[in-house]
């Protein structure tokens, strides 16, 4: 049977955040190979003391990234983490500060394809203990997201992610060069939360033992950090209000682990892009199924006023049954 003594832990550290020993993490903060001057810099620091209040009144602890390089260990932070927005062709620095009280973390820019050192996967490079500058070039306009890739099963579930948008040189308002334009924009990062995981240490399970991380049983369903039970129907950061004739871009990010089905409430979208690449031929959709980390960019141009209720069903990965639903609205005036 399993014995932790069989394995030589890479790292043993005592941490805050209820932390214990960590195994198979690779703490480091080397110099960035080929560091150059960036066109845009994002400073992020890991936090592990945020929270979200659900519609039933319960507060669930969340982790994430704050803007700025300081503030470790205090102040809490937003969920989801602050978005990054850059322009195609820019050299980007994402400067992550982690370690000490809040455990080691990384930033993987999901869908961005940089060098190994800048890909943010601990066991292929390192988990950041100190400050590391991820350097990458924004080569393809589109919708991405960034997330922690240390003990990912737990850290991403805890909310350590944020949107990442690359605009074409034309700037916001155009999806990609030569692609469609839009007047109104929404980012829907749809995620499920298993609150029973949210009291775990950042190291949970890494040295072995059963932390239950094979078995996700979500009890809350959110859209871009807002409870989809009720709040997302009207939250101004999620629900959309637009005028007839305007073009709405929805950047849909499947930010959870389970399959999802999003239904646009009777509206038809033109799907132009997925995973940061234009489709050879856009298609019309009334609903979409997505799996973890897929992104779909949908343009709506409603021809008449109305209130359209968008539903996101979160599906059991085995049975396909709906485990929960989040709702928001598109109001066309």
């Amino acid at each position: 049977m399993f014995s932790v003594l069989k394995f030589k832990p890479i790292q043993m550290m005592h941490t805050g955040g209820g932390g214990g020993n960590a195994c198979y993490t690779y703490p480091d903060a080397p110099a960035t190979p080929g560091l150059t001057t960036a066109d845009v810099v994002f400073d992020r620091s890991a936090h592990m003391n945020g929270s979200i209040t659900m519609d039933d009144g319960r507060t669930v602890s969340m982790w994430g990234f704050n803007t700025g390089g300081g503030g470790m260990g205090g102040g809490g932070g937003p969920f989801p983490s602050p978005a990054m927005r850059v322009t195609e062709g820019q050299i980007v620095h994402t400067r992550l500060t982690a370690g000490m009280m809040n455990g080691t973390h990384t930033i993987h820019h999901h869908g961005i394809e940089p060098s190994t050192e800048n890909d943010g996967v601990g066991h292929y490079s390192f988990d950041v203990n100190g400050t590391y500058t991820y350097q990458w070039k924004a080569s393809h306009a589109g919708t991405y997201f960034y997330h922690c890739h240390t003990n990912t099963v737990l850290h991403a579930e805890m909310g350590m992610y944020g949107a990442l948008i690359i605009d074409p040189p034309e700037g916001p308002g155009t999806l990609y060069s030569g692609g469609p334009t839009y007047d109104v924009e929404a980012v829907w990062a749809c995620d499920e939360i298993d609150s029973s995981w949210h009291a775990l240490s950042w190291t949970a399970g890494t040295c072995g033992g059963d932390a239950g991380l094979n078995d996700l049983n979500p009890d809350y369903f959110v859209i871009t950090g807002v409870d989809g039970a009720q709040s997302a129907l009207t939250d101004p950061g999620v629900a959309v209000t637009m005028n007839t004739g305007q073009r709405l871009l929805v950047r849909y990010i499947c930010a959870g682990y389970l399959p999802q089905r999003i239904d646009f409430g009777g509206l038809t979208a033109t799907l132009y892009m997925s995973d940061g690449r234009p489709l050879p031929n856009p298609i019309q959709v009334q609903s979409l199924e997505a799996s973890s980390a897929e992104r779909y960019d949908c343009i709506f141009q409603p021809g008449s006023p109305g209130i359209y209720e968008v539903t996101v069903e979160y599906l059991d990965w085995v049975s396909g049954e709906t485990l929960g639903t989040a709702r928001t609205r598109i109001t066309v005036q």
Partner: protein, 333 residues
């Protein structure tokens, strides 16, 4: 069936049709159809999981004294006659099925049966035991078969984008409680709760762990699983899901060209970094292009990156041990 006959069948196994444990799938096209023969022995045994637990499996194995999960992959070309001999060494009924191509029917305890059939449309298929469904399949009785277009060495289907090398990834989930019920001849009586996750029968290991780098155990180093290439070594990956759960397959460093899902050719080829892998014998066919990672700055042509599932529960073993699940390494050399 007598032991002597077992050995005779073992000797009959035609060379070159089973690719064995080493290397990517190799194939030399022929101008004419041929007869492709193979022998599988249905055997059972135990395989140690990353946390040390020995779990019971049944497999389509290469000899009466070994256990292979999954069975060694088969490759043939459209129109070939496949002659597959199944030697059931166990005291239970089993079968050999490829949807749309062959169904052996019941192969009783100790029986030998040879099925002969024509290789159908080019594509990627699962062979599996359809009896006691889905339990026998989940207990390990499954494997992959590639059917090449007649006379072609570099296409998934006639006229498809071309590749220079190819691989089969058979993924599954393991609930040891289910496997143990199968061992005892009983029907599983608990909800399917997978605790181990394998690609080609192996789970990932990481630096510092006992079996890191062992090609027989570490899916990151198993030569039939790891993708190794230089720039331009376009690699067809045939991804088969023998398990019960829907997954999300995420590639780092390059987007893949998505050619087919569940054997259906996609009307357009989308470039994706994350793709839904349907459950219960679902499949994806993609080409990993081995292009320079587009967002690297400075540009790179070498590096090591993961392919992993993004439904991150699959990255665990025994409820913890993040990184010890369905993943492999993509090596740019």
């Amino acid at each position: 069936m007598k032991r002597r006959t077992f050995l005779q069948f073992g000797a009959v196994g035609a060379a070159g049709t089973l690719t064995g444990v080493g290397g990517l799938l190799s194939w030399t096209p022929r101008a004419r159809a041929a007869t492709v023969s193979a022998v599988y022995y249905i055997t059972d045994g135990y395989v140690a999981q990353p946390d040390g637990l020995n779990v019971y499996f049944k497999g389509y194995s290469g000899s009466s004294s070994s256990l292979a999960v999954p069975g060694a992959p088969l490759i043939a070309q459209e129109g070939d006659t496949l002659q597959i001999t199944i030697v059931n060494t166990l005291n239970s009924d089993h079968s050999f099925v490829i949807d749309g191509m062959v169904d052996s029917g019941v192969i009783g305890a100790g029986q030998v049966q040879t099925v002969s059939f024509i290789a159908g449309s080019p594509g990627s298929y699962l062979f599996y035991d359809a009896l006691n469904a889905p339990y026998n399949r989940l207990a390990g009785l499954h494997g992959g078969i590639a059917v090449m277009p007649a006379g072609s060495s570099n296409e998934l289907y006639p006229g498809s984008p071309t590749f220079v090398q190819q691989s089969i990834w058979v993924m599954t989930e393991i609930d040891p409680a289910w496997n143990d019920r199968v061992r005892r001849g009983l029907t599983p009586d608990t909800a399917f709760t997978p605790r181990y996750f394998t690609i080609n029968g192996r789970s990932m290991r990481v630096p510092g762990s006992a079996d890191y780098g062992n090609p027989d155990i570490d899916s990151g180093y198993h030569p039939g699983t790891r993708l190794t290439g230089s720039i331009g070594d376009r690699t067809l990956v045939r991804i088969l899901n023998a398990g019960m759960a829907t997954h999300s397959v995420h590639f780092h460093a390059n987007h893949v060209e998505w050619l087919a899902r569940n054997g259906e050719i996609r009307p357009d080829i989308w470039k994706k970094d994350s793709l839904m892998l349907p459950n219960n014998r679902g499949s994806l066919d993609v080409i990993y292009p081995f292009e320079p990672p587009p967002d690297a700055h400075p540009a790179v042509t070498t590096g090591h990156y993961p392919m992993h599932l993004h439904d991150e529960m699959t990255q665990t073993a025994g409820g913890g041990l993040y990184q010890f699940g369905i993943a492999t390494t993509i090596a740019f050399e």
